[in-house]
Assembly symmetry: C2
């Protein structure tokens, strides 16, 4: 095995391949799609990390884990943020780093409490940029009601980073009686989304590529723990919560369908896709169902509670645009299908990689 | 403020400056020394992160934080690992990522329980390299008695990483009656180190630079939680524990002296510096007191317990080479001095940056 000290990994890249987010799976090198939250990411976890770590929490590797420690049920989660550019309409890498980890904790029903931040800085980046990111972290933490309790900073040589990478981890408490996880989806569950989808991915892409769509599209990045608390106040028996980030709604629903063995049936016209997202996606050749969101959640709710939970969501700032978009069915277990506007159905599969790399 | 999307940070680097680990402090850009664990790192925390985060846990930003959550006292810590090369005699980035965070938790007296791992992979790195790092993480976690509970993977384009960066966070429980922190050092405390110093830094440097010193020098990377438990079994009243990683023993002792306002007096000939480390440091122009360790701790112990704690350390595999190296004094508060072999004394100051960048 080549030692990275003596042989640059760049020499292993196939030049015909290096811009493709979803290339051949038999390539023995890391490709952009391995970071996309789709099938390639799942394969990396299942084939590389799961066997290496060999423990029963493997299934939780893409989620927040719920742990028993000191008599409490603790949610614990981490994510690295490598978004490019660092600042975009509606937010920055600092907002994502806080909200993303806060939201991962909230998707277990936890009340987020403490965060850590670990910065990997590239030599030569302006200290003013670092300061701007740090201030965004501080402001987002205050808005989300969490405390940054511990941190670390490393510096790498110019050409081995991209200004600022931030990794956050978070801990929170899971209330008694709450058991929210993908395996709990079951036929009959109503599928709700908390608002319009696709804004984050399109916002980042438009500024990165210098595109103008007539209106400025801003990221939806926001903390969702308060919204989740409002939903849990209706009933602690929410079955599944998920924030559809990398891979979008399509990836999240497929993961839930596969984990639970239920089918999911969406109604296309019920899915809130803003006109500006639809137009931008049409222009860019993207499917809004696979575009990343950073301030939205999808909920699987028992039918008897669905109307009340939806009303509670709509009464909350972060859920004002909430909608019922589908349901769980006993047909086609493990699969997601979409009833189209023309009366047909199409299969919504797990994406292979990511349409837009470096989105978060 | 320049947006990193449109202006590469590399253009901000002064070419006359880019290899210097400890350059001018009035440069408004990040330099390698900001990641070195010395005075520049401390300034970054105090001048950038502390004001931005604005919370009372700021002093803990370079340590594990002790939090109250769900009725338990929880230690929480994070570190990014950007060591170059990824594999070196005695260990790898995977071992460091586990042992480093386990040790940060142990330095609060905590029993480490769960870890998270977040990988930032560079496009084009061989999957076999990722797998080798993941296996090292799994093996080190098993050896340290901790569970990897959650994780994340991101991929960045070739030329924006260095193969594999790993960020770990960890949580553990602090036993009742244990209160270990730098502020508790006081005159009279005996200073103990758990074994020979300087091995990790010299091991990494020798393989990075292709140097041969006649004997292979292996990193000391090891988990220290069991050793700490053995010490706490003697008395829960340990005052301070610290693993002298970046910046070495010199940086750790200065931080403790400043945090507590006590003076520290070391006896040079009592400090266990292996011959091969002394020889390599002489050749490279390094001071072994500032070279990183990854499997050593320094303890400040009340004098009445010092002999018993030292005996317990020597009876443990990770403390077999433990030694009494000095004491806390009322003189020169906040300063560290070394009694040299020639009968004089010298001040051991906080290093500015790091002698060896990318050491962990």
């Amino acid at each position: 095995m080549a030692d990275l000290a003596t042989e640059s990994p760049r020499t292993a890249v196939d030049p015909a391949n290096w811009t493709c987010p979803a290339p051949l799976r038999d390539q023995p090198v890391v490709v952009m799609g391995h970071g996309g939250g789709g099938a390639l990411s799942a394969e990396l976890v299942q084939q590389v990390f799961a066997p290496a770590y060999g423990n029963p929490t493997l299934a939780a590797l893409t989620d927040s884990a719920v742990l028993h420690l000191g008599g409490a049920r603790l949610a614990f989660s981490t994510d690295s943020y490598v978004v490019r550019p660092l600042f975009f309409p509606g937010g920055s890498v600092g907002d994502l780093a806080v909200n993303g980890t806060v939201n991962d904790l909230a998707m277990s029903g936890a009340r987020p409490a403490y965060l850590s931040t670990a910065f990997i800085l590239e030599e030569g980046v302006e200290l003013a940029v670092v300061e701007r990111v740090a201030r965004a972290v501080g402001a987002a933490a205050e808005a989300a009601g969490v405390t940054v309790a511990t941190g670390d900073t490393k510096v790498v040589e110019s050409g081995h980073g991209d200004g600022v990478y931030v990794t956050t981890a978070g801990v929170g408490l899971v209330p008694d009686g709450v058991d929210i996880r993908p395996q709990r989806a079951r036929p009959g569950d109503v599928v709700l989304v908390s608002g319009p989808i696709g804004l984050h991915g399109v916002a980042v892409m438009s500024v990165r590529e210098g595109l103008e769509f007539g209106v400025e599209i801003a990221s939806d990045t926001a903390p969702l723990a308060d919204l989740v608390a409002a939903m849990l106040a209706v009933t602690p028996d929410l079955h599944v919560l998920r924030d559809p980030t990398r891979g979008g709604l399509g990836a999240s629903l497929n993961e839930i369908a596969r984990a639970s063995g239920t089918g999911v049936r969406l109604v296309e016209r019920a899915i809130p896709v803003p006109d500006e997202v639809a137009n931008a996606c049409g222009f860019l050749g993207l499917d809004p169902l696979y575009v990343a969101n950073e301030g939205r959640l999808v909920a699987f709710v028992p039918p008897e509670h669905a109307e009340a939970v939806l009303a509670a969501m709509r009464a909350h700032q972060q859920g004002a645009g909430a909608a019922r978009v589908g349901e769980c069915v006993a047909d086609h277990p493990g699969m997601v299908v979409v009833a189209t506007g023309l009366g047909g159905t199409r299969v919504l599969d797990l994406p292979l990689g990511e349409q837009l790399p470096r989105i978060c």
